[in-house]
């Protein structure tokens, strides 16, 4: 794959990616992680500036991008939370990015409105990376999820992946499912009835010949990857119902004997109580590594869209 096609490319939605493009990013992320672990300071992005525009707070994502840029020898500027910016004074996001285009070489945007990143990218030439637009997309999260799986198993095809929790509203599971359409995987969708994955999505997966099993039982005995998400209180008007559902999908020591030896547990974080801290020290836990993997993946993407070869 030629590097030219990545230069100045906006990274908006995982749905814009072909399998070849995803695989290429994963390969480049691996290379970047090797460079990172050599501990030699990198200067790939020296003299370049990243603008982090966070119209809603997300400490993890913004820090991860900032870390990625600084590890590459570049600099990061930006703001977080709408109250501190001129958005409250009436400037639109479309105008804000046009202004910032004049300051920075690459822009990351997080915004509560769905589609904000795509709209913002349409009027600028500087590459823009979507750092999350409402409930819609968060493509770098999906890429780091895939990278974590690939790093563990050296492949994605042939794996059995269980998704647990809120599959109706969960942005990360939707995007991950969109990406996995490109691979030959088996999916087990585990959720309370009220939070099942939207029918249209499940049908879409089946049309792409993905084997999909839906269940309300926490049956994770055959899974290579268990991807857990948080069930949010606000989805349940009845507190008792919320309590019942929440407790039905907790991963604690009790599940350990049921797991495959090499199964890994992932979570986009932050977790609340769906994964017991007792799991953290086991060989199955990967969620903290997963979060750490965001740095080399974002480093690779920053270089690619800025046309920096490595």
């Amino acid at each position: 794959m030629s590097l030219k096609q990545w230069d100045k490319k906006h990274i908006i939605s995982i749905r814009d990616f072909s399998r070849d493009e995803i695989d290429f990013v994963l390969k480049k992320s691996r290379l970047m992680e090797d460079k990172l672990s050599s501990r030699k300071p990198l200067e790939l992005m020296k003299g370049l500036i990243l603008a982090n525009l966070f119209f809603e707070p997300s400490t993890r994502t913004s820090m991860s991008f900032e870390t990625a840029m600084k590890r590459l020898g570049g600099k990061a500027v930006g703001f977080s939370v709408a109250e501190t910016t001129s958005e409250v004074k009436g400037e639109t996001i479309v105008d804000t990015v046009r202004v910032v285009e004049g300051y920075a070489d690459v822009i990351v945007v997080r915004h509560p409105a769905e589609g904000a990143a795509r709209a913002a990218s349409e009027n600028i030439k500087v590459p823009l990376i979507n750092g999350g637009d409402g409930a819609n997309q968060h493509p770098t999260q999906t890429l780091l999820d895939l990278y974590t799986i690939q790093k563990e198993y050296k492949k994605i095809d042939g794996l059995s992946i269980a998704m647990v929790g809120d599959l109706k509203y969960g942005r990360t599971v939707h995007s991950l499912a969109n990406a996995l359409e490109n691979y030959d995987v088996k999916l087990t969708l585990i959720s309370p009835r009220e939070l099942r994955m939207p029918v249209r999505m499940v049908n879409g997966l089946r049309e792409r010949a993905i084997e999909v099993k839906e269940t309300t039982r926490l049956s994770i005995g055959k899974a290579d990857v268990i991807y857990v998400t948080r069930i949010q209180r606000e989805r349940f008007p009845d507190p008792q119902e919320f309590k019942r559902v929440k407790e039905a999908y907790v991963l604690d020591e009790g599940i350990l004997p049921k797991l495959r030896d090499d199964a890994i547990i992932m979570h986009p974080l932050p977790r609340v109580s769906e994964i017991s801290p007792a799991i953290d020290g086991t060989r199955h836990a990967r969620y903290f590594q997963q979060s750490r993997n965001g740095v080399p993946v974002r480093m690779a993407l920053l270089c690619l869209v800025c046309g920096v070869d490595f």
């Binding site: 939605s13 749905r15 009436g90 639109t92 996001i93 479309v94 915004h111 509560p112 409105a113 769905e114 589609g115 904000a116 795509r118 709209a119 637009d133 409402g134 409930a135 819609n136 997309q137 249209r200």
Partner: protein, 154 residues
């Protein structure tokens, strides 16, 4: 109404001037009326036929409106809910123009996104709604921005 059955065929009265929208998928005529903004306050004559036999499509709806024209945006909207519709422009009882609607690949500024969190619904952002046609039969549209899929305008 002077409709009558002739040779077992249903005859619907012709209009003098106006438009006749034929080959609307059975049951979707009320949505066509909505697109045309026809409600209780409408004064000109409107003829609606629903679920009538059709050789082309088994059952169909027909809408005829006296003294009315259609603009491009209305035709595009009709193409979404009735992708096989034919529009006849009538003057003095004669069909002066006939056009099959065509569902465009992209609907720009025609359909409002039903997702209140979509950037196209944020008042101050200058972003026009754009829907991409994902599937034509049945029609499935996807918002270019928030990626929400819809299969109906209402």
């Amino acid at each position: 109404m002077d409709d009558k059955k002739e040779n077992g065929k249903l005859k619907i009265r012709n209009i003098k001037n106006g438009i006749s929208i034929d080959h609307i998928a059975a049951g979707r005529a009320p949505e066509v009326l909505k697109i045309l903004g026809i409600d209780g306050g409408f004064r000109d004559s409107v003829t609606i036929a629903m679920n009538v036999k059709s050789s082309k499509m088994r059952e169909k709806d027909i809408v005829k409106v006296e003294n009315r024209d259609l603009d491009v945006s209305e035709i595009n909207k009709i193409s979404v809910i009735a992708p096989q519709a034919t529009i006849n422009w009538i003057q003095d009882y004669q069909v002066v123009r006939k056009e099959k609607v065509k569902l465009p690949d992209e609907l720009v500024g025609i359909v409002e996104c039903p997702n209140p969190s979509c950037i196209t619904n944020k008042e101050r952002e200058p972003v026009k709604s754009i829907f991409l046609v994902k599937n034509t039969s049945p029609v499935v549209l996807v918002c270019k921005y928030c990626e929400r899929e819809i299969d109906s305008l209402y």
